[in-house]
């Protein structure tokens, strides 16, 4: 509830605050830069966002994503809209980067946030680019206000152990945003215990032996089927989750860095208390 209130505050602030002469029209070719752009930019500044931004499952800002030009990450699509700046993640392929450079676009890369601190840095970077640094500061302040109590609440309690478990056994270990969110909300990440850095695979046997208190899942494309998704229904997984149902955190709260991460932290903190 508190989260929703402060987020609405942010959105309203964006609409009411004086409009600086930001001539920049920005095109985003990455879902996570979409989120930052939608949170911090004036509507007129958004030249294009990816089509993924409309998917409510993975895009927190889906409601605000309507009516914009949508791209599929292809450089050719940008030629028609002539943006001033293209924003993308630092994982942009060198080929694409060179192509965009050759086309004469200014490119701003954003690091894939591996912690909440890096989310703050990205917010500042985007706000500055858009000519609205005060919006960035405001947003970060709100997030910190929200996280403060959560951090204080659990410092005295023992941490339950959790395992982020995704189709094909993927998990988030040390140096991932999700891993950091898990940590901030007072959980112990078994993937870190297993020595996984970054995004990695938690083998089923390892999962069983690490014996996490809860599994943490963020269903993506529910109702669809694949071998990777079937793994989550393996009899062994079912056995360890019958008594301890998984904690479900909607993907949109933590797949990308942004204000919504606070919601993820809040939900995880709350889940700690339910046995």
């Amino acid at each position: 509830m508190r989260t929703r209130i402060f987020l609405i505050t942010v959105l309203l602030a964006g609409l009411v605050a004086p409009v600086h002469p930001g001539p920049l029209r920005v095109a985003s070719i990455n879902l996570c830069t979409d989120q930052l752009l939608l949170a911090l930019a004036d509507r007129a500044q958004i030249a294009s966002i990816t089509f993924l931004a409309q998917h409510a499952e993975s895009s927190y800002m889906a409601d605000r994503a309507h009516g914009h030009h949508f791209n599929h990450g292809q450089a050719e699509e940008l030629v028609a809209i002539e943006p001033d700046v293209v924003v993308a993640s630092s994982y942009l392929s060198p080929t694409k980067l060179r192509f965009l450079n050759d086309l004469g676009y200014r490119i701003e890369l954003f690091r894939l946030a591996a912690s909440i601190d890096e989310v703050y840095a990205n917010i500042e970077q985007m706000a500055a680019l858009l000519g609205h640094p005060e919006r960035g500061t405001l947003l970060i302040g709100q997030m910190q206000d929200h996280l403060g109590p959560v951090l204080r609440n659990h410092s005295n309690q023992p941490s339950p152990s959790g395992a982020i478990y995704e189709p094909n056994g993927y998990t988030g270990g040390l140096d991932t945003l999700r891993g950091d969110i898990l940590h901030q909300s007072g959980w112990r990440n078994v993937a870190t215990d297993a020595g996984i850095r970054g995004v990695g695979v938690l083998d089923l046997e390892a999962l069983l032996l690490l014996d996490p208190d809860r599994l943490i899942m963020s269903p993506y494309a529910p109702g669809t089927h694949s071998l990777g998704q079937r793994l989550l229904q393996h009899p062994a997984v079912k056995k360890i989750t019958t008594a301890r149902p998984p904690v479900v955190i909607p993907l949109k709260y933590w797949i990308c860095g942004g204000a919504m991460n606070a919601e993820a932290v809040a939900q995880l903190a709350e889940a700690r208390n339910t046995p």
């Binding site: 189709p167 094909n168 056994g169 083998d203 089923l204 046997e205 390892a206 069983l208 032996l209 014996d211 993506y220 494309a221 109702g223 669809t224 089927h225 694949s226 071998l227 990777g228 998704q229 079937r230 793994l231 393996h234 009899p235 062994a236 056995k239 360890i240």
Partner: protein, 327 residues
């Protein structure tokens, strides 16, 4: 080597490999841990829910690949025939893919192996029709290549269009196979059709032996060729369909094993069936053991290993066949 002795040795080999397989995995859990009174529940889970199904499925699927290879080679009277060659493996994979990724698998557990079986059967019938009666092995191989290519193309298409975002990357699992992350539920799903298929193979040995003398002579000796063909096709479709719908298409077992064992059974097609099942189980178990001994990292697909052994073998077989003038 008397046939009994060969079967016994192979049986012991399979049992030994199964024991090793139970002791290998991503973690260092071993069977001996079962004896430890202070073990955690997780150990039993690992052994019974992960290692056991993997071992049993590898053995059953390997046996199916082996026996189907022997049967097809006996029927077509050519050592180059194998389930992969005649399209049954890729047909089965296609059938299973249609059921799983488009969501039909939810309706009943029987649908995926049935899809595999139907796919295998249709692919084989198509190859047979393309190759025509009295086709030489060359024609059959060409028809098989055509049907295999079509099946793989359709598989890729369906995976691309499937609703699940994970589907696209999974083509490799279906074309190169995998026995990892399988559960006991997969074993039970595979079992009925596998057993049914194997039962159909029983009793075809005599007819296959008589085919040594050619179709006309075999028919004059009481072999009902149409019945034999139908029965063998069904048996292959059932066992390969069931296996592939769980493990994906694993190649070369049906080619290599019957060929290796044939001299040991005096080149008798009938005797070859049973020992090829054992040999196939051994080969797949061994390959899976090697997969798990590989350095940690993305798991090597089991079909890669069988291909590394099988493809050079296949080339050698072609060269040898040319000398024998068997086609």
């Amino acid at each position: 080597m008397t046939p009994g002795y060969l079967s016994l040795s192979l049986g012991v080999l399979v049992a030994g490999l199964m024991l090793i397989s139970m002791n290998l995995g991503a973690s260092s859990t071993s069977l001996l841990d079962l004896l430890d009174a202070q073990r955690s529940d997780a150990v039993a889970l690992v052994l019974l829910e992960i290692r056991l199904p993997r071992t049993l499925i590898a053995a059953l699927a390997g046996a199916s690949f082996g026996i189907c290879g022997a049967a097809m080679q006996g029927l077509l009277r050519n050592p180059l025939a194998s389930p992969g060659l005649i399209g049954s493996s890729s047909g089965a994979a296609l059938g299973a893919i249609i059921i799983l990724y488009l969501g039909f698998g939810e309706w009943s557990w029987m649908l995926m192996p049935s899809g595999g079986m139907l796919g295998a059967l249709l692919a084989m019938v198509l190859v047979y029709l393309l190759a025509g009666r009295d086709a030489s092995i060359v024609t059959i191989v060409l028809a098989g290549v055509a049907v295999n290519s079509l099946a793989v193309a359709l598989m890729s298409l369906i995976l691309n269009l499937a609703p699940s975002p994970y589907a696209v990357r999974e083509i490799v699992l279906w074309t190169l196979g995998s026995v990892s992350n399988l559960g006991m539920n997969d074993l039970w799903v595979m079992l009925p059709a596998t057993v049914l298929g194997w039962l159909l193979f029983l009793g075809t040995g005599k007819s296959l032996e008589l085919l040594t003398l050619g179709e006309d002579t075999a028919r004059s000796m009481g072999v009902n060729l149409l019945l034999l063909r139908t029965r063998l096709f069904l048996a292959v479709a059932l066992s390969i369909g069931a296996a592939v719908s769980v493990t994906g298409a694993i190649g070369f077992i049906g080619l290599v094993i019957p060929h290796l064992l044939r001299p040991l059974v005096g080149y008798r097609p009938g005797r070859l069936l049973g020992v090829s099942a054992l040999g196939g189980a051994a080969m797949l178990l061994a390959a899976d053991i090697v997969v798990r001994l590989m350095p940690p990292g993305p798991e090597i697909r089991i079909g890669v290993l069988t291909a590394i052994v099988g493809a050079p073998f296949f080339l050698f077989l072609i060269l040898k066949t040319r000398r024998w003038q068997l086609y």
